[in-house]
Amino acid sequence: MKQFTIEPLLGSDWQLGDGINIAFTNSALWMAITAVLVWVFVAGGMKRQLVPGRWQMAVETMTGFIDDLLEANVGKAGRKYVPYIFTLFMFILFGNLLGLVPVGLIPGIHAFTFTSHFTATGVLAIMSFSIVLIVGFWKHGFHFFSLFWPANTPVFLAAPISLIELVSFMVRPFSLALRLFVAMMAGHVLLKVLASFVIAGGGAGLGLGVLVGLPSFVLMVAISALEILVAGIQAYVFALLTSLYINDAENLH
């Protein structure tokens, strides 16, 4: 579980106001690396050529992907959320993928996946949820509460249905944050367990090494590939669900 441990790198006594510690940790470092890589990636596509090169094509594919996602789920009004959803998607995607880069091969360097911490995913989820609330109440005022009363609900069902709707609505930020955190953490733990099998099997002699170590290693390779897929899918799911929630606020039924 060491890979999930947060260690202060700089300014372990930095404080914001009174007692609010803001030490620059390894987690913060990987967030910074993620931010820089996202910036580098997108900046590479800023040539604005009429006939795009490969890099520009890749960046335009990503922005077009998010643009289409919002267009499909929210409609024309969704375009103004492209900067936020794009940043969210790229930040999570790069964060997830960076955690899978085997930088641990270099002595003294430890990879860290900040998306495997619910403190980080929670902030992202609360941001998305806040946008939904702000947009909803801004556009619809108190009429936004009609979200909890689906269309054509019989009056005598109004109370239980609206209660269920309210609960499912309030659960959204938690499910959003926990889904990403659990998926990332589970993948890394699984790889860690299999890696320990490889080490232990190899250390226990030839017989066990072939019997346990080798299959575990093969499985690790396969699951690493799966984790790369999961990294993309979880980033997509986060962006997709956020856009669906924004749709609720933008186009109240």
Binding site: M1, V38, R48
Partner: protein, 164 residues
């Protein structure tokens, strides 16, 4: 699980730095770069649509041009056809007139020739009559010893020839 064990000591740092770096990314990349990239894409799409429209217009113009050319060509062809027909008719009329003239000439020549033949025949006939009358007079003189007048012989020959 460090996520829970370290919660109280790292929560503020996590939240702070995530907000800092996500916020920076949002402002610099999301707000600064993404609209420009989307603008580039839109510009390109517009350009492509414009080019396609221009190509379509050019194609339509070419089709119209071709249609006009075809109409003009058809008219020219019809005019040429009429000209040819007229010339043909004229030529046919001239030929017919020439033929008629030649025919007339031939007819008169034929008639003249026939008349000449007729005249020659009648003169030959008259000569034959004359000779026959002389012969008949000689025969009569030798056989019968009678000397008949040429006119009588001639009449007799004429009578025989008419029967003959």
């Amino acid at each position: 699980m460090p996520q829970i064990d370290q919660l109280s000591e790292t929560l503020t740092s996590q939240v702070f730095w995530l907000l800092v770096f996500f916020g920076l990314t949002f402002v610099v990349v999301g707000l600064g770069m993404v609209p420009k990239i989307l603008g580039t894409v839109e510009m390109r799409d517009n350009q492509i649509a414009g080019d396609l429209a221009a190509a379509q217009a050019a194609r339509d113009a070419a089709t119209a041009e071709e249609e006009a050319w075809r109409t003009r060509e058809n008219a020219n062809r019809a005019a040429a056809q009429a000209l040819i027909g007229e010339a043909k008719a004229k030529a046919a009329a001239a030929t017919a007139a020439k033929l008629a003239k030649a025919q007339g000439k031939l007819d008169t020549q034929l008639a003249e020739a026939e008349a000449a033949i007729e005249a020659a025949r009648s003169s030959a006939m008259a000569e034959v009559e004359g000779v026959a009358a002389d012969v008949a007079r000689d025969i009569v003189a030798r056989v019968a010893g009678a000397d008949i007048k040429p006119a009588t012989a001639k009449a007799a020959v004429k009578k025989v020839m008419a029967h003959g």
